[in-house]
Subunit: 257 residues, 2 copies
């Protein structure tokens, strides 16, 4: 599935019908939502599937996940690939049935992964063949630092905030529970609703408004002068990235490899 | 002279003493300022050198320079090179005595010319030999688009806003009058004092504050996440530069060559 071209549709189906179809090989993907007011509340396995609740518990070592819990969607999928995206909340993916191959990219790869401004879904199909990719996109991907994880039933994978990831099923059917939690101070997160755990942090939301305002400030300025000053502002913002000790793009982020 | 290391000093001298010294080869540079309250008012040749006023007049074709006049400093120099800098106001450099070689760079070269944030003086000595330059600075300079102008007495050179320039004298003594004027709408300029015609436009001053604020907003955010989001904001600001049709850095600004 790709989020950009929306080559899929949303479907309401009884759980029984869904399970029958997906176990017989249908290209379906279930990501549970809350039983009541799903646009407002996050889903919790124990609340939304009370009959399954007793069957799933996190190990003691992950008590921080439970005590800061945000949501725990159930994911059941047939032979479909979920598009590359990142989550803002930390999460653990707990594989229950089937196997799955995940590809993950560290936060420092972000500028090579074609995220539209403000989007948490990428426009890149990292599994596409060389011939189905533009030269520029291929060159970008060649400079990323992908990690691969192969999940078997019982495996738990930690997916840190802002790590881009995509999953390819290795068998017909995959069942997983995905537990999200807040691992950062409350002030870091944007205020208000975040049903899916992918709402960007407050500083980025504010930063995007500032970028808009900055660009607007140059309306009416002749284009050579506008270019001159915007170019400098880009450079000055980049210096802030580097001064903050944050990992920039470029060679030698070897500790991630 | 370089502005960065300030390898020169400011000196009060009578005009007669100055002229005697500079005509006998002293490394001196006079850039006139206003006779009264020089930190507040810009200099005008006709006001500050009334006895010379009748000797200097701009041709009719430059009437816009006179009607929007900001200042007209007198520049008298011995064998010294003025550092690379840009002016925010449009100006014409009118060569009176001696000859001068100017090197100019279009606004689109700005990111390769090592301007510190908020400064209008560059840290690069573009006349330095290859061996006195870092590899990075040399590589940057190789990708600029320098223009050269050779001024003889009677020549008038138009220096547009944000064109970086530096001058090398070709003879012992050079005398010039430099007429600055406002060629943009009043709303483009920063409000308040601008004695030298090099105060940055309002949108850049505001933009710099926004960059500071943006960076501050990420304090307390873990560095990988900070890098992830700041990197995206850099990319989004760069998209604004490109979308505005402004000349970016890069190959193919051939119309400037």
């Amino acid at each position: 599935m790709t989020f950009q071209t929306k080559n899929f549709s949303y479907l309401k189906q009884s759980f029984g019908d869904f399970m029958a179809a997906v176990t017989s090989g249908a290209q379906l993907y279930l990501r549970s939502v809350a039983t009541t007011q799903p646009a407002k509340h996050a889903t919790h396995l124990s609340k939304d599937f009370p009959s399954l609740a007793a069957d799933f518990c996190l190990p003691e070592v992950l008590s921080t996940v439970s005590s800061n819990a945000h949501s725990s969607p159930l994911r059941i999928s047939g032979p479909v690939t979920l598009w590359l995206h990142y989550d803002v909340l930390a999460n653990v993916l707990c594989q229950i049935r089937g196997t799955k191959r995940l590809r993950l990219y560290p936060p420092s790869d972000v500028s090579r992964l074609a995220y539209p401004p403000g989007a948490s879904s990428s426009n890149v199909d990292v599994f596409a063949s060389r011939n189905d990719m533009s030269d520029a996109q291929y060159a970008n991907l060649m400079r990323t630092h992908p990690h691969e994880a192969f999940l078997r039933p019982g495996d738990v994978l930690f997916i840190p905030p802002a790590w881009s990831h995509t999953a390819k099923p290795e068998e017909k059917l995959s069942v997983a529970v995905n537990c999200f939690w807040r691992n950062l101070g409350d002030e870091v997160y944007a205020q208000g609703r975040d049903v899916y755990g992918n709402r960007d942090i407050a500083a980025y939301e504010e930063g995007r408004k500032a970028v808009e305002k900055m660009a607007k400030g140059f309306e009416g300025v002749p284009k050579d002068l506008r270019g001159f000053y915007l170019e400098r502002l880009v450079g000055e913002l980049r210096e802030k990235v580097e001064a903050s000790g944050a990992e920039g793009v470029g060679e030698g982020n070897e500790r991630d490899s």
